[in-house]
Symmetry: C3
Subunit: 132 residues, 3 copies
Amino acid sequence: METFQVKTKKLKDIVDLTPKLNNMIEEKDFQNGLCHVFLTHTTAALTTGEIGEGTEEDLLEVAEKIIPQIQFRHAHDPSHAWSHMAGSLVGASLTLPVMNGELRLGTWQSVLLVELDGPRERQIVVGLAPVI
Amino acid sequence: METFQVKTKKLKDIVDLTPKLNNMIEEKDFQNGLCHVFLTHTTAALTTGEIGEGTEEDLLEVAEKIIPQIQFRHAHDPSHAWSHMAGSLVGASLTLPVMNGELRLGTWQSVLLVELDGPRERQIVVGLAPVI
Amino acid sequence: METFQVKTKKLKDIVDLTPKLNNMIEEKDFQNGLCHVFLTHTTAALTTGEIGEGTEEDLLEVAEKIIPQIQFRHAHDPSHAWSHMAGSLVGASLTLPVMNGELRLGTWQSVLLVELDGPRERQIVVGLAPVI
């Protein structure tokens, strides 16, 4: 298990984790198996999606607007109550296939850290699991 | 693979599975790797999130209100059609990192069973997977 | 790691992957462990849910209507911008328990490929991971 940090730069931000994950896979000389990625936070999320052509900004706007405007009970900081909801909805855990020494993603697919309450330093735990 | 049951207490409920999972990890003396948790149901879900300060009630209200009011075809029991939708959206599968003999979660992060059609007895399957 | 293709038949479609996955598990004589399923696309998703009684049509309508009507920046094809959002929200990665040589799902639970921008040929990567 390995841990690394990512500094997000804005209140809402998307960071492409694909290059960093591929570097870790290469360093370990891991050829085939599963790469598990976990975010130890509740106001950000991990998912896969397209990068570029405005898709990141679309996703960040959707992540906020999709949460219904309820009377939030979370009193600690009501302005970011929605970010807890979006974090739990999108999720903090992601498992990805590794083939021939790199992540086996689609042509337009990247691994995205979705920051919903930044800028912050976020911690990510990675584990590489064998397959039969 | 191991299975355990959780009794939910209300129509909509959140149960923190973290202590139970950490007990299982300790009993197996599992030090480092992945803990996979799966819910064998379609009207409840698993996710990670904060506990306390009203966040659970916020999440349960959001889980219902986020589902658009369509003319549901699911005729078996239309009153819980939304709970199938929320279950599929949030998901029934969760993989978590284990480090030094316990779940490696964030400070404010818990493993949540989200009951959307209770009270019911829910079944959870756990598998502990090695990493390289 | 193994790859297979699924042809979806409509613009929005749901394909039950359960029989295909159980066949692969049987062919490998894999008895207990984890089955990881990954979709190498960004305008479709993987989840678990009920099949039949109109639930698939409900889920497809909800997947579209749940996305807020923002002014999408994604200019490549604005008509399917929502499908990128729904894909990232529901997710492309799923890990499932295997017990006694088959997927350990609930009675009403199936593994669903959710097509949001079809009809297309979709590629799915499967890995079988051991547990302790």
